[in-house]
């Protein structure tokens, strides 16, 4: 028996929806096996991971809190991925957004007023966008691969933030801990639900998704992004400028990552610390793929991936497994998704005679 792939005349729309479902099912099943291998009975362990964290309002609020930055970043990254612009630097852009907004928040330390928070958030967007502008410029001007440059800048941003909180921005009253001062109330995100950490930023995620959807599905700019992404030669034939698409998608992704970073430090964290993100910038890449690079699909995917964060926390506390179980689940989801995606463009046939299969 040999596996044979047969190109479908047209991509299957049904499989577009079935593939991610199948990937999630396979991930859960494999996760069960993983827990079993660690000596837990699979079903209760999976329940600890996926269901228990959502048992109360606080759990749900934490879930949404973690889904928000994922969704905002992933939706924006997806625009770039559609256009074959591989921004892997969202983590660094998030950090630089946090740094820029944190800097403004600290500069406006004694100032109060309704305009402070918007200014702080705009600074975050600007910080992320400008930081993403570096790989954009290097790609446009020097053809430097944006995957590698944007990724290198993640490490640079992490170190930059560490330097700030260890040095110039360290809180004078912080007992030498590497932290900035706590931001004042006017720079903090208003809380949405009393008694939780869920803030108004959660409302921004669907809004960003809507904007991205309009760009992608309705606008001529989105059309150009898709053409260049699918068939660069056709884009050049039509006269669509790849430079504009590179600059726009990278900086839009950077801006949204910066916004997410700003909302983290002005939300649940409330100050600058050496680590402002548990890898949202990387997980957002998975969310973008799992959501089919479609803004609304990404909203759902972000919810699922947010669950792996709080599930990982719960599993660490309840079962004592390493926190890295979160990334294991995230990696598995992406693998299974990429594998299941084959069903969209190909029919899988099982050939009885192996040698007849062209590509087994």
């Amino acid at each position: 028996m040999a596996l044979r792939l047969e190109l479908r005349p047209e991509a299957s729309r049904a499989m577009l929806f079935v593939a991610p479902m199948l990937a999630i099912a396979l991930t859960v099943a494999t996760g069960g096996l993983l827990f079993a291998a660690l000596g837990f009975s699979p079903l209760p362990a999976l329940k600890v991971f996926f269901l228990s964290p959502l048992g109360d309002l606080y759990g749900i609020s934490e879930w949404l809190l973690k889904a928000t930055p994922l969704a905002i970043i992933a939706v924006a990254l997806a625009l770039g991925f559609r256009g074959n612009v591989w921004n892997i630097g969202a983590e660094g852009q998030l950090i630089m957004g946090a740094v820029a907004s944190g800097g403004v928040a600290l500069a406006l330390y004694d100032v109060s007023g309704a305009w402070v928070l918007p200014t702080v958030l705009l600074a975050g967007i600007a910080g992320g966008a400008l930081y993403a502008g570096i790989p954009a410029f290097l790609r446009i001007r020097f053809h430097a691969n944006e995957i590698l440059t944007s990724l290198m800048l993640n490490y640079v941003a992490t170190l930059f933030l560490a330097w700030l909180v260890h040095g110039p921005w360290r809180s004078p009253e912080g007992y030498n801990f590497p932290e900035s001062r706590m931001f004042t109330d006017s720079a903090l995100m208003p809380i949405l639900l009393e008694g939780t950490r869920l803030h108004v930023g959660a409302l921004l995620a669907p809004l960003v998704a809507l904007v991205a959807w309009v760009i992608l599905s309705r606008s001529f700019l989105g059309f150009q992004i898709k053409v260049i992404g699918m068939t660069p030669a056709a884009g050049s034939y039509a006269g669509f400028g790849p430079k504009r698409v590179i600059a726009f998608t990278l900086m839009f992704g950077g801006g949204m990552a910066g916004l997410a970073g700003a909302m983290e430090v002005c939300g649940p964290i409330g100050q600058l610390v050496p680590t402002v993100s548990p890898g949202y910038g990387y997980t957002a890449i998975i969310a973008a793929f799992l959501g089919r690079l479609h803004p609304f699909g990404i909203l759902l995917a972000s919810l699922l991936l947010a669950l792996t964060y709080i599930g990982g926390d719960a599993a660490q506390i309840t079962l004592g497994v390493p926190l890295a179980v979160t990334q294991v689940f995230q990696g598995m989801i992406l693998f299974f998704l990429l594998a299941c995606d084959v069903l969209i463009r190909y029919r899988v046939r099982f050939a009885a005679r192996p040698s007849l299969g062209g590509a087994a």
Binding site: L7, E10, F220, V227, T231, A238, S355, G358
Partner: protein, 517 residues
């Protein structure tokens, strides 16, 4: 002797019985039979899309038949890889060469034959074989430095080094000048005289009639007939191939009024290579006037792609004056600005440049027709308008498809080309540039595309056709110029020239009076 010995029935070198090959959504071969005798030059004849290439790929082991039997010298065989085919004594020269640009001739031969002998030794054998069959080649040159004709020689020598009993040639003359084709025929005749068999694939009737002594004709994947092409006329062969009497449109070449301004004027255009292996353009000048169909002939790879890039605006040139549309310098303008000035463009590569394979026809209409009033509104797309435009193209130009939502890659080559040409024509271009308008397109679609181009020119547009197909250029053009090594010859009035003369130009003999060729 009491009874005359019955002459043994000759066993075919290769016999195919009931070969069937199915692709998703199409039946490429349907119960095809074929027999090639020893020492025979056998033509496999058929239109584009008739299933010839699929059939020979099955013989050469690149593809496997779903149903059917292959007999080699009378014995049933399974050919599951090209290596197996070569072991039997089958060699093949592909239409799209299987060569590696950055490697030398010798390395390519080593790769293609699996010959384990050291490269210098192999190089010596290449030199010897190329000498014997009149196929001049330098074993140490890189493929990227060779002309298309020379590359074909590499392919042929590669086959001959394995001493094949059957040589398959897939449309070999489509990349040759008429003179080069003549010398290829000489080589092939010598091979046949040695007792080798040749399976010769073509849709060019004239060459089959002078070269082959037997022909198998395919139509729509099925066997349409067998004949001796020497006893047929071009018309009877065409009927067998197409299945009906068929008269392609021919246009009487016009004498164009040369006093008015040129729609497209190219003056002293030069271009250094932008990518590795590109042909530099040097000092190209020509002009196309309203109502004229101007042809550029030449063997592929002589700078046509580079020239087309500078004309479409995908490649900008340093001197804006080098390209002018209606007297305005446009050399520095990109495709969109040139379109605003009335240019339409049909690229050679239909799927993947002229159209996005995975997008619908409606979206592909938007690709080049986005300037059409009403299609865009404040940066947003009006989908009803793009769909209507695509529908109009489909109905006006008789594109066979399920509708504007069909993906471009679901269309056959001919229908996609009709769609792209139609999309450009419906934008009322004052200048239309078309590359290889009917390359790989079936006869019906080719005729309809030719008719559309003629109508467009009669309506007052200037039309520039870049093509490798001389028959096509002679059928529809008023003037023809030839590209060779990145240079363009003087334009010749079609009325005052012939295939022979254009062929000389294609070989690079630009100054006939100097008598060097």
């Amino acid at each position: 002797m009491t009874a005359p010995l019955a002459a043994p029935l000759p066993v075919p070198r290769l016999a195919l019985k009931g070969i069937t090959k199915r692709y998703p959504g199409c039946l490429a071969n349907d119960g095809v039979d074929l027999a090639v005798m020893p020492g025979e030059c056998h033509a496999l004849l058929g239109e584009n899309g008739a299933g010839k290439s699929t059939l020979v790929k099955i013989v050469y082991g690149v593809l496997q038949a779903d149903v059917g039997e292959i007999l080699w010298e009378g014995e049933p065989v399974r050919i599951d890889s090209p290596a197996a085919a070569r072991k039997l004594g089958i060699g093949m020269v592909f239409q799209h060469f299987s060569l590696f640009e950055s490697m030398t001739v010798t390395e390519n031969v080593a790769l293609g034959t699996g010959d384990p002998s050291p490269l210098p030794e192999l190089g010596a054998r290449i030199a010897e074989v190329s000498q014997r069959y009149g196929l001049a080649l330098d074993p140490d040159r890189r493929i990227s430095d060779l002309s298309v004709g020379e590359r074909q020689r590499v392919e042929i020598v590669r086959c001959l080094l394995q001493d094949p009993k059957l040589l398959i040639m897939d449309e070999p003359t489509s990349v040759l000048t008429p003179q080069e084709a003549e010398s290829l025929f000489e080589t092939l005749r010598r091979l046949v005289a040695e007792g080798r068999s040749i399976l010769y694939i073509s849709h060019k009737l004239a060459e089959i009639r002078v070269l082959c002594e037997a022909a198998t004709v395919l139509r729509g994947g099925r066997l349409a007939g067998r004949c001796d092409p020497r006893e047929e006329t071009a018309a009877s062969l065409a009927r067998l191939m197409i299945g009906a009497d068929f008269a392609p449109p021919v246009r009487e070449a016009q004498e164009i009024d040369r006093s008015g301004a040129a729609r497209l004027a190219v003056e002293r255009l030069s271009l250094a290579p932008l990518v590795p292996f590109a042909t530099p353009l040097s000092d190209i000048s020509f002009s196309v006037r309203a109502g004229e169909i101007f042809g550029i002939a030449g063997v592929a790879g002589n700078g046509q792609a580079e020239l087309l890039g500078t004309l479409s605006g995908e490649t900008l040139v340093a001197v804006p004056d080098a390209v002018k549309i209606d007297g305005e310098a446009v050399g520095h303008m990109g495709p969109r600005r040139r379109r605003e000035r009335g240019m339409g463009f049909v690229p050679e590569e239909r799927l993947g440049r002229g159209a996005v394979p995975d997008m619908s026809l409606a979206d592909n209409a938007l690709l080049s027709a986005h300037r059409t009033p009403g299609m865009l509104k404040r940066g947003l797309i009006r989908f009803s308008r793009t769909r209507a435009f695509a529908e109009k193209v489909i109905s006006t130009f008789h594109v066979a498809t399920s509708g504007p939502q069909a993906a471009a890659r679901s269309l056959s080559g001919g229908n996609l080309q009709k769609f792209i040409v139609g999309r450009e024509i419906l934008q009322n271009p004052r200048l239309l540039i078309v590359a290889q308008p009917t390359w790989g397109v079936d006869a019906g679609a080719a005729a309809s595309i030719h008719r559309d181009l003629i109508t467009l020119a009669e309506g007052g547009a200037a039309v520039l056709v870049v093509s490798q197909d001389l028959d096509e250029l002679f059928a529809i053009c008023d003037r023809i110029a030839v590209m060779c090594h990145g240079r363009l010859s003087e334009a010749q009035a079609v009325r005052a020239t012939d295939v022979e003369q254009i062929g000389m130009l294609m070989g690079g003999v630009f100054h006939l009076n100097e008598g060097e060729g």
